[in-house]
């Protein structure tokens, strides 16, 4: 079931990203998105380990690029959907690999069900909040941008601290 869901989310992410670029009439990028989606699917099918990480990074970058290129109102929602689907695909790929590599003691179906439930909750909340945010126009002025910058700095230092902790 995990494999089927994985393929489904990759196809969904590729379709949303292609549609986002097509909506902005960025046809070369739409084709590139479709090709990337196909490569990700191929990588999954052939079990190439770095494909999922590359796929998530590429899809997020292409989604951000589609927003930067500008477009119609639906582009942002499609890009958001693409990022959510790509994130789900990346997560499911990791889960599928762990399950294939190590034998599960106890109820594997229960473990999968709990994982999927939480992933679904994160995806649903992301879409809900994202949709709500789209309805509210945010215009960044200097002060919020400064605060955001500060937040980024804090996040960066926190990430470095976390990386330096040996058991994390």
């Amino acid at each position: 079931m995990i494999r089927r869901l994985l393929f489904g989310t990759i196809i969904g992410a590729a379709a949303c990203l292609t549609a986002a670029h097509a909506a902005g009439e960025g046809w070369p990028w739409a084709i590139a998105s479709a090709v990337l989606g196909t490569l990700w699917l191929l990588g999954c099918w052939r079990d190439w380990s770095p494909t999922a990480s590359l796929g998530l990074a590429a899809f997020t970058a292409l989604a951000a690029f589609s927003l930067w290129l500008g477009g119609r109102s639906g582009t942002t929602l499609l890009a958001l959907l693409a990022v959510v689907a790509a994130l789900c695909a990346w997560d499911l790929d990791g889960l599928a690999r762990r399950l294939a590599r190590y034998p599960v003691v106890g109820d594997q179906a229960e473990l999968e069900r709990r994982h999927l439930a939480r992933l679904l909750a994160v995806a649903a909340l992301s879409l809900l909040l994202g949709g709500a945010t789209l309805a509210i126009q945010i215009r960044l002025t200097f002060l919020p941008a400064l605060l955001l910058g500060l937040l980024i700095l804090l996040g960066f230092s926190w990430a470095i601290l976390l990386l330096r902790t040996p058991d994390s």
Binding site: A79, L80, L87, W90, L129, I138
Partner: protein, 431 residues
């Protein structure tokens, strides 16, 4: 597993940077799923992971070459762990036969799970030290690595082959009844001699033929007493006595031979001590019975070959370990410079038996059948035959053992009593 949070974290950071750089709020919308994903993982992270691991084996005393089931039980003594990966670190030398020494599970507080795998064991003592556990959230983004202490030992003993009773004849025996001829007249089975009749001798011991030839005199048969003896087993564990070829080890066969001989002597009621002569002197004090058998087998299970400048030759063999005029049994492929030491020991009136596992036959098994190989084997065989002759001349019994054949056969061919008619027909040793 590697820490996976860096990719979504990096992407989130990149999108935030892009939002600031481009002053575009829509980038924040894209960052939202990544942020929520990381937050969910952080919230359910394994902050207080406390686990306890316990090993158990299907048997405490395994015999080499057999399969042993290893069970690992993990108990959660801390918070709920959504996903925990447990990997058991196998001590070197154990070969995994069935299953995997790793498992993935989810553990509630106080919960426990166990998994098992099967290993094929080679002789030796194996110590299981640590179990590696990686606790993580369900998304496996944040991990906490734990090294769980689960010390346990598995002892793998050498295989013991049942041997027929060995006919040893040391000059001195102990005072208890046993299977070794004591060179003293008394009650026994084998005929020893004749003496004048003493009142009280059983009538069935009277030698009537001799008495008939000497009127007015009676003679009584005497039988050889049978007692137990002191046996000192020496296992040659010098590095140069080890031959490895095609995954086979000559030392492994030597250890098996020593274990089988010790078991055979102890079964006969004798007092047996063991000296492992290699990197150092590993001495198992002489003793009787099953406990001594266990001590010797455990010492042999841990026996390893090693180098030492002092014990490179047999010159420093500590004779004080062995009672005077007792039986010494040396298990060694033997080198030409060992012969003088053995001859000296024989001169001190020790009875010596040498069991020589044949390194030539072991190596020949894996070599191609070429003329030069055959010639080399012949030369090596001649050297060994010459050594054997020198030992036999000194009164030392030598059992040459081709490790392909059973030790019992090799010993019986050398030391077993063959029927008279085979000797008469010149068939001794061929049947």
């Amino acid at each position: 597993m590697v820490a996976r949070f860096s990719l979504p974290g990096g992407l989130l950071y990149g999108l935030l940077l892009a939002a600031v750089a481009l002053l575009d709020g829509r980038m924040l919308v894209l960052a939202l799923p990544l942020g929520l994903y990381l937050l969910a993982a952080l919230y359910y992270g394994p902050y207080q992971a406390r686990l306890r691991a316990t090993h158990s084996f299907s048997t405490d005393r395994a015999v080499e070459g057999t399969l042993v089931d290893v069970e690992l039980e993990i108990e959660n003594e801390g918070q709920e762990l959504e996903e925990v990966l447990v990997v058991d670190r196998l001590p070197p030398g154990l070969e995994l036969a069935v299953g995997r020494p790793a498992a993935l599970a989810s553990l509630p507080p106080g919960g426990r799970f166990s998994f098992s795998y099967t290993v094929r064991v080679a002789r030796g003592g194996y110590t299981f030290h640590e179990v590696e556990a990686v606790a993580s959230d369900l998304f496996c983004l944040f991990q906490r690595r734990l090294a769980l202490s689960a010390p346990d030992q598995l002892l793998v003993l050498p295989r013991i082959v049942k041997l027929r009773s060995l006919a040893i004849r040391p000059l001195r025996t102990r005072s208890y009844a046993g299977p070794v001829p004591a060179r003293q007249a008394g009650s026994g089975v084998d005929f020893y001699g004749v003496r004048e009749y003493h009142p009280g001798d059983p009538r069935r011991w009277i030698n009537w033929r001799l008495s008939a030839r000497h009127p007015r005199s009676l003679f009584t048969n005497e039988f050889e007493q049978e007692r137990i003896a002191d046996v000192g087993l020496i296992l040659d564990a010098r590095q140069r006595s080890e031959v490895r070829f095609g995954g086979e080890s000559l030392f492994k066969h030597a250890v098996q031979a020593a274990a089988s001989l010790a078991a055979s002597f102890l079964d006969g009621g004798n007092r047996v001590g063991l000296l492992i002569y290699g990197r150092s002197l590993d001495w198992t004090f002489p003793g009787y019975g099953k406990i001594q058998r266990e001590r010797i087998v455990q010492a042999l299970a841990r026996a390893r070959t090693g180098d030492s400048q002092v014990f490179d030759r047999l010159d420093y063999l500590p004779t004080r370990f062995f009672p005077a005029q007792s039986q010494i049994v040396l298990v060694s492929p033997l080198w030409p410079d060992d012969v003088p030491t053995l001859v000296r020991l024989r001169a001190r009136r020790y009875q010596i038996l040498v069991v020589r596992p044949d390194p030539v036959s072991l190596e020949l098994r894996g070599l191609p059948a070429r003329p030069e190989v055959a010639l080399a084997a012949r030369i090596a065989g001649l050297e060994r035959a010459l050594m054997r002759r020198r030992l036999l001349q000194a009164g030392i019994t030598v059992v040459d053992w081709h490790v392909d054949q059973s030790l019992d056969q090799a010993i019986y061919a050398t030391m077993g009593r063959t029927p008279l008619w085979t000797r008469a027909a010149g068939l001794e040793g061929r049947l």
